[in-house]
Homo-oligomer: 72 residues x 2
Amino acid sequence: MHYTELIKTIKDRREVLQVTQETLAELSGVGLRTLKQFESGKGNPTLLTLQKIAEVLGMEVSLKLKNISGSK
Amino acid sequence: MHYTELIKTIKDRREVLQVTQETLAELSGVGLRTLKQFESGKGNPTLLTLQKIAEVLGMEVSLKLKNISGSK
DNA sequence: CGATAAAGTGCTATTTATTGCTCTTTATAG
DNA sequence: CTATAAAGAGCAATAAATAGCACTTTATCG
């Protein structure tokens, strides 16, 4: 997943769950400023920050192989 | 994927490809020190750093939903 | 139009990641 | 045991992420 895709995934997921940035920030323990920066495409969050955000949204950060045609 | 799993995934993948930390650092543009810290479990890399490392190893960082029983 | 809620931005202090250098530790091979 | 290669770690400078505060922008509603 490209950088902008990751952002969109988080953003979309948050909107599906109808959670505001403010609420997500509180629930995840990530600063509101950090979350805003990230979602507006201006951040380079640490892995920990990304994991905390993903966790609240019922998601997880993972690493997967590219190019594997049989992966689906 | 939990934090230690992510590290292990990178480490294992690097060893499968028989690439040293030094080579991976050069190819990815990430500092050797940073890579060493990460693999030894002492880092909290930025998303960009993780992406650069994963890229060279033919992998990618992704976000996926948890709890979906039918995901496999 | 004005009011409200949510998102985005400038500024800035503090913390932390990144990096190179050097040194140590841990295999592995001769 | 010695030599070599790879990985790990202390130290320190620099760059960057985090975070709060206040302000602006945008969208929605009455």
